[in-house]
């Protein structure tokens, strides 16, 4: 502030605005945090077990498949990484953001925490939509195939 040419700034969080959440909200979020962290850890564990399982099966020799099987497994692992890792990371950061909120009690931190929560549900919704689309397309081709093969 010694410089005379400092740009003007507004008084964020100035008089008359506490910007704090109520103690009940803090209490609810503190009781949410542990379970969210637990579920995130479980998802990380699931991810780890899937990766170990894939690595072990990639290392073992199989009489069927060969190179195609390996490529399929690597492709499957990448899909699993995308499916399991992102929501686990989002839930974990949601729990961490709740931790920050519990320390500060500021509504800005509640917004950041809820932003992580929103990102988690958006991802789950998009994944559900993708799987539903695949299911509907498979059903459509199945019906078309069975009608084409039937003898009328």
């Amino acid at each position: 502030m010694d410089r005379p040419y400092v740009p003007p700034s507004s008084n964020f969080g100035g008089e008359g605005f506490s910007g704090r959440v109520s103690p009940r909200v803090v209490s609810i979020m503190s009781r949410t945090k542990g379970w969210v962290r637990f579920i995130a850890v479980m998802m990380f564990l699931n991810f780890g077990i899937t990766i170990i399982n894939t690595v072990v099966t990639l290392g073992s020799s199989s009489p069927v498949g060969g190179e195609a099987r390996r490529i399929g497994q690597i492709f499957g692992t990448v899909i699993v990484m995308l499916l399991y890792l992102y929501p686990a990371v989002k839930l974990n950061s949601y729990a961490s953001r709740i931790g920050v909120l519990l320390q500060s009690g500021r509504s800005g931190d509640l917004e950041i925490a809820l932003n992580e929560h929103r990102a988690f549900w958006r991802y789950i919704g998009i994944i559900a939509l993708v799987f539903m689309s695949i299911f509907v397309i498979a059903l459509f081709f199945g019906i078309v195939g069975s009608v084409a093969n039937s003898r009328f």
Partner: protein
């Protein structure tokens, strides 16, 4: 009334863009971390009609409501999917039970095993219904909050969300315990 609501939603979408663009998580400068009270912020709709957002009392800022509003659609979608899946599983369990109950011959010898599977199917269906109801309750509470901007509605929405996570966590804990017991049982039988 509808036109007014549609207009308000449009302005609210602009606010969502503003929040995403100037969110503290993306701009973690200390003087920018409370964005909701930025005096140069673009105008945004207050669906509640109360002065709560303006005064920003009790932590019900428009940013908090905006985040919950953007979550609500996805949670409603997943809750509907859960309820449909739960109903389908329950119907399948009832139909499966009645079909296998009336079977004769070699299939009847599998009766006990199939009964256990059908029972678990039914239990899973009920659990899906509960999860769907909890998520749906959260979405409804957020909807109420959007129009009231009352702190009690924010607490209700967050409490319903907590209830969902607690239920999911307990369910996960039970399934992990069942899996561990099953593995121990299988190992003990193999020895």
């Amino acid at each position: 009334m509808r036109a007014v609501l549609a207009g308000a939603r449009k302005v609210s979408t602009l606010t969502a863009y503003h929040l995403a663009r100037y969110h503290p998580a993306r701009n973690p400068k200390p003087h920018q971390d409370i964005m909701a009270d930025n005096p140069y912020e673009a105008p945004s709709a207050n669906l509640s009609g109360h002065e709560t957002f303006g005064a920003q009392t009790g932590g019900v800022t428009q940013g908090v409501v905006e985040q919950l509003r953007r979550t609500k659609g996805w949670t409603r979608f997943i809750s509907v999917l859960c309820i449909i899946a739960g109903v389908v599983m329950l119907i399948a369990a009832f139909l499966g039970g009645s079909v296998f109950g009336n079977m004769n011959g070699p299939m009847r010898q599998l009766g006990g095993f199939l009964g256990v599977i059908i029972f678990f199917y039914g239990v899973l269906g009920v659990l899906q219904l509960i999860i769907g109801a909890k998520l749906g309750g959260f979405s409804t509470a957020v909807n109420r909050l959007m129009y009231s901007a009352q702190e009690s509605d924010l607490e209700d929405a967050l409490d319903r969300q907590r209830s969902f996570w607690v239920f999911t966590g307990v369910m996960m804990l039970i399934f992990v315990m069942i899996a561990i017991i099953s593995v121990i049982t299988v190992i003990a039988r193999l020895r």
